[in-house]
């Protein structure tokens, strides 16, 4: 066994949720995977839901595919290994993770990160997905990608002991990755790259259809009823702008305002990825090259970034009245985006 193995990762282009950050960390540079990525991640949707850690209502905003992206992606082999399997095969989770990395497998699953940060005086649990991509047995550390340890998405290290603590204390019902009774038992996912063959080409038909659904705010999830039961209050497409405005208004009008920027951040990441998609489609002659269009869409990205940053600023200064300007940036982004993507649909 080598003392140190670190599998390749690249800091992800989008960091909104752990599942996207993980997929992009592994595949962000792969040319074949880009064909799948740019054919998907088009529809945006959101719904109100109690946060699993605090119970507070949040606006959960995400691109489609959402948390199932690594299962759906043809360039990843995403295998669930249950806790009994891990214990039977390896004895303990540390050995399992090391052996998995030794054969080129990344590890992904829920850990109690409160217990990972501190082993004493912690009277709550913070179940969160952890992405593990390397180890060093001399220093007894794992290399991980996560939001928790550096207050932003970052590659860092955590000790073997911390990982074991975080894994051992979670019970199946506390493990949100496996909530919704998706598989009924908890464990870890092993992720292996599957990039030797080209499984998926850029799909203009899907891109066009999904862009239309985005612009017309259609229920894209309706295509997948055979796989999952449905939330009834989901907002799709450009209507997400209105949901974001409502959410920000509600956040800032509350007696104790909350400054959760996640919904605005995912919407910003959606624009970042859409701009990259437009560049990709032009570079591959799927649509004609149009620098003006790229420059105009860059303004949409800038509007969304400004809206997000303004909420960060308000969280620091407490200048609640500045929240009205967030709505202005969202309106501006929506107007420009609808015009640009309308042109793209006609070109596809």
């Amino acid at each position: 066994m080598a003392n140190k193995v670190v599998l390749p990762v690249k800091y992800p282009a989008i960091t909104s949720w752990q599942w996207h950050a993980t997929l992009f960390s592994i595949l962000g540079d792969d040319e074949n995977a880009k064909k799948w990525i740019y054919s998907n991640y088009i529809q945006l949707r959101c719904y109100n839901i109690p946060e699993y850690t605090s119970g507070d209502e949040i606006l959960l905003c995400d691109m489609m595919p959402g948390s199932s992206s690594m299962k759906e992606c043809p360039y990843l082999i995403f295998s669930l290994i249950t806790k009994p399997q891990i214990e039977n095969y390896c004895g303990d989770v540390i050995d399992f993770i090391i052996k998995t990395i030794d054969i080129g497998g990344y590890v992904y699953g829920a850990f109690d990160e409160a217990r990972m940060i501190s082993n004493v005086g912690v009277d709550y649990k913070f179940s969160h997905e952890l992405f593990i991509y390397g180890y060093n047995t001399d220093e007894e550390i794992f290399y991980v990608g996560d939001f928790t340890f550096k207050d932003k998405y970052a590659y860092t290290t955590v000790s073997f002991d911390a990982v074991k603590r975080g894994f051992d204390v979670l019970t199946p019902r506390e493990d949100h990755v496996f909530k919704d009774d998706y598989k009924g038992t908890r464990g870890l996912y092993v992720i292996q790259k599957n990039v030797d063959n080209k499984y998926y080409d850029i799909d203009p038909v899907l891109i066009k259809r999904t862009l239309e659904e985005y612009l017309e705010c259609k229920d894209t999830k309706d295509h997948f009823r055979m796989m999952r039961n449905r939330f009834s209050d989901t907002v799709f497409g450009v209507n997400v702008y209105n949901a974001l405005k409502d959410r920000v208004h509600k956040q800032l009008e509350a007696e104790e305002p909350d400054f959760d920027i996640r919904a605005l951040h995912i919407a910003y990441d959606h624009k970042v990825l859409m701009l990259e998609r437009l560049k990709y489609l032009m570079a591959n002659e799927v649509i004609p090259f149009d620098q003006t269009m790229l420059d105009e869409y860059a303004q949409v990205v800038d509007d969304m970034l400004t809206a997000r940053n303004l909420l960060v600023r308000i969280s620091i200064t407490g200048e609640i009245e500045a929240g009205a300007r967030i709505a202005g940036y969202l309106d501006s982004a929506k107007e420009k985006e609808v015009a640009i993507l309308g042109k793209v649909v006609k070109q596809l």
């Binding site: 550096k150 207050d151 400004t306 997000r308 960060v312 600023r313 200064t317 940036y329």
Partner: protein
Amino acid sequence: MEKKEIKEKLLEIIEEELPTVEIDKLDTHAAFADEYGVDSVSLIKMIVDAEQTFDIKFDDRELALNKYASFDDVIDTIEEKLQ
């Protein structure tokens, strides 16, 4: 205000907002996101402090991390606003 004075005052802000940075070894020319871990939130905190310290105002679009590569760029922006 002289650029040197702006830099000194900004260093005090950096020391407060980025406590892990060793101020006496700080290179204001360096790419601050890579070298010192400056991110969107820490930059905005610095900007808010700078607004109070220098009695200036940053526009909403000037809050973006991608507008600045280094602390020198922030110093230049403050200098422009003071003129």
